[in-house]
């Protein structure tokens, strides 16, 4: 099992979700986050006072998948979340030791 953590542009969430669902991914966790990378932020001006907003709003999608479909899922996210400009985001993959479904107590991939 692997956890795929994808930082994406907020307006591309639907596309990313659909592409993962098409691969059979059953659920995901979503967080609204802010961060910065190479994408420049923007400047806001309030009555002449300039504030540089460096932390840009992004979404973090987390899915746990079986090892077999990790590569497919990564490709799906890249395809659906890419615009080709700075700020498209990142994908991180982590090993997952165990997964348990609270309702039934099942362990392993079945619990995901």
């Amino acid at each position: 099992m692997k956890k795929i953590e994808a930082i994406i542009r907020p307006h591309l969430l639907e596309a990313v979700k659909d592409s993962l669902q098409a691969l059979g991914v059953q659920g995901m966790t979503l967080s609204e986050i802010r961060g910065f990378g190479r994408q420049k932020g923007h400047t806001e001006v309030y009555r002449g006072s300039e504030y540089k907003v460096e932390f840009v709003p992004k979404l973090k999608v987390e899915v746990i998948v079986d090892d077999e479909i990790v590569e497919g899922a990564i490709d799906a996210i890249i395809k659906s979340a890419r615009t080709g400009k700075f700020g498209d985001g990142k994908i991180f993959v982590f090993p997952v030791e165990e997964a348990i479904r609270i309702r039934t107590g099942e362990h392993g991939v079945n619990a995901v």
């Binding site: 806001e44 001006v45 309030y46 009555r47 002449g48 504030y51 907003v53």
Partner: protein
């Protein structure tokens, strides 16, 4: 059927009743109709009718002016601060509605409007003695009580305006004390000087220096604006200013607040005609034109200089225009109002964006930049644009004919009078504000601790938060209730649902 019948006969009886009354009145008139009596009756009826009209208008205006403080100013200022200070900032406006009202009732109205020296009123109206249904010297067609409550609303909003300068860092107790003392030491005397019977600057009731201030440009805006500057300088900058961002947490609230201010200002300015006549119409129109023109003025200069027209710029411009037209509303033509508004919008833009940066003070919400600078601009422009065709102020002592009011009409001295009026307000406001702040600083302290400031005034001063949108999440985590019992009750409820 029977009951319908009864109703029918009752209606017939009721219809006959007024006819009988009319017949009796006619016969009474036929008996003793001297011309003098009929004239007196007609005059009394006219007076009653005029009082009804004027009083209705002035009561509505009083309510409109109160609306400027809460919700108007509370929302305008509340939206401009950071999220952690929204309640404390709104409270600073709201609490004025309570505190100033009480001191106004006890002695404030008397010190402002009872006959006294040229500088402050006397004690004739203490505890509102004699302020009742009979009209006062200030407005011949409305009850003195109406005039009193209308003027109270002005006394409420003026110290509330200053709170924009010390938002986000002043102790609530210190703020309460400051605003109360400021009302007594600055506002009541100033209101007496400009509007009071025998006041130094009163152009209509025997003042030595006839400064024109239709609705409170000097009394309300210059006094509060310059006092705000002293407050900003005395309190010092907010922690982190100007390096860390102080972006407004909700400009949506500010837009609503500014628009409520705009609407409320009709009561403020048009109501200052203290009658529902044509002068009120003129003030209403000039007020509206001034606001519109100033919003455009600010936006145009902002668009040119900064590349984008901001919403905050638009509403700030409108407020600046309303401030600028306030002293002029009942003295200038609608076309002059367009000019005054535009100038006020542009001047205030530079005050807020350039002057503040150059001088380096932290006037959190630009109470000085908008009310001080806008008020001063309006006071001077009133001396320029005032026109005797709109409102006759000065009369030839021999012929009684109207003489010119403002500079453009041929009375350049009026600009000087305006300047003196403004100078009195500035001197009194600044000096008194400094002394009051010093006294408070030496006794209870003016500023919150750095820790309280970082935490936000909502929690540190009031023990509340403005937005508890995640309250459900927090209590589900066992924050509010003892965990075990709470979880159990949820389980019981969930089981019941499944069955």
């Amino acid at each position: 059927m029977n009951s319908l019948h009864k109703l029918g006969s009752l209606l017939t009886k009721l219809a006959v009743l007024p006819m009988g009354l009319i017949a009796m009145t006619i016969s009474a008139l036929a008996q003793t109709p001297t011309v003098e009596e009929r004239l007196a009756a007609a005059e009394a009826a006219v007076k009653t009718a005029q009082t009804a009209g004027d009083n209705a208008w002035m009561l509505v205006c009083s309510a409109l002016v109160l609306m400027m403080t809460g919700p108007g100013l509370a929302l305008f200022y509340g939206g401009l601060v950071r999220k952690k200070n929204v309640l404390a900032t709104m409270m600073q406006s709201f609490i004025m509605m309570a505190v100033i009202t009480v001191i106004w009732a006890v002695f404030g109205y008397s010190l402002s409007f009872a006959k006294g020296s040229p500088f402050i009123g006397g004690f004739d109206f203490l505890f509102l003695k004699g302020v009742g249904a009979e009209p006062s010297a200030y407005a011949g067609t409305i009850p003195a009580q109406t005039f009193m409550i209308f003027q109270l609303m002005f006394a409420i909003i003026t110290p509330a305006l200053i709170t924009g300068a010390f938002a986000e860092r002043m102790k609530f107790s210190a703020m309460l004390l400051f605003c109360t003392l400021w009302a007594v030491i600055v506002y009541f005397p100033l209101a007496h000087m400009v509007w009071g019977d025998g006041g130094l600057l009163n152009a209509f009731l025997g003042g030595k220096v006839p400064a024109l201030d239709f609705a409170g440009g000097t009394v309300v805006h210059i006094s509060s604006g310059f006092s705000a500057l002293v407050c900003a300088l005395y309190l010092g900058k907010r922690v982190g200013y100007p390096k860390t961002p102080f972006a407004p947490h909700s400009l949506v609230l500010s837009v609503i607040g500014a628009c409520l201010l705009w609407v409320g200002w009709f009561g403020f300015n048009a109501g200052s005609a203290v009658a529902a006549g044509s002068l009120a119409s003129n003030a209403f129109v000039t007020t509206h034109f001034g606001a519109a023109s100033a919003a455009i003025g600010w936006l145009v200069i902002e668009w040119i200089r900064q590349g984008k027209p901001t919403v905050l710029g638009g509403i700030s411009g409108a407020v600046a225009g309303l401030v600028g037209i306030t002293p002029a509303a009942g003295f200038v033509t609608p076309m002059s109002a367009l000019a005054i508004g535009f100038i006020a919008g542009v001047v205030c833009f530079f005050a807020v964006t350039q002057l503040k940066k150059k001088l380096g003070y932290d006037d959190s919400l630009d109470a000085f930049g908008v009310h001080g600078v806008g008020g001063l601009t309006g006071a001077l422009l009133t001396g320029v644009f005032a026109n005797s065709a709109v409102n006759t102020v000065f009369k030839d002592t021999v012929t009684g004919a109207a003489t010119p009011s403002g500079l453009l009409e041929g009375n350049p001295a009026q600009v000087l009078n305006q300047l003196i009026g403004a100078a009195v307000a500035i001197a009194l406001g600044c000096a008194a504000s400094y002394v009051i702040l010093k006294v408070i600083d030496l006794t209870i302290g003016v500023r919150v601790t750095g820790e309280d400031e970082m935490q936000g005034l909502d929690i540190s001063q009031h023990g509340e938060e403005g937005y508890n949108l995640d309250a459900d999440l927090i209590s589900a985590g066992g924050f509010g209730m003892s965990g075990g019992a709470y979880n159990e009750s949820i389980l019981v409820a969930a089981e019941a649902l499944e069955k």
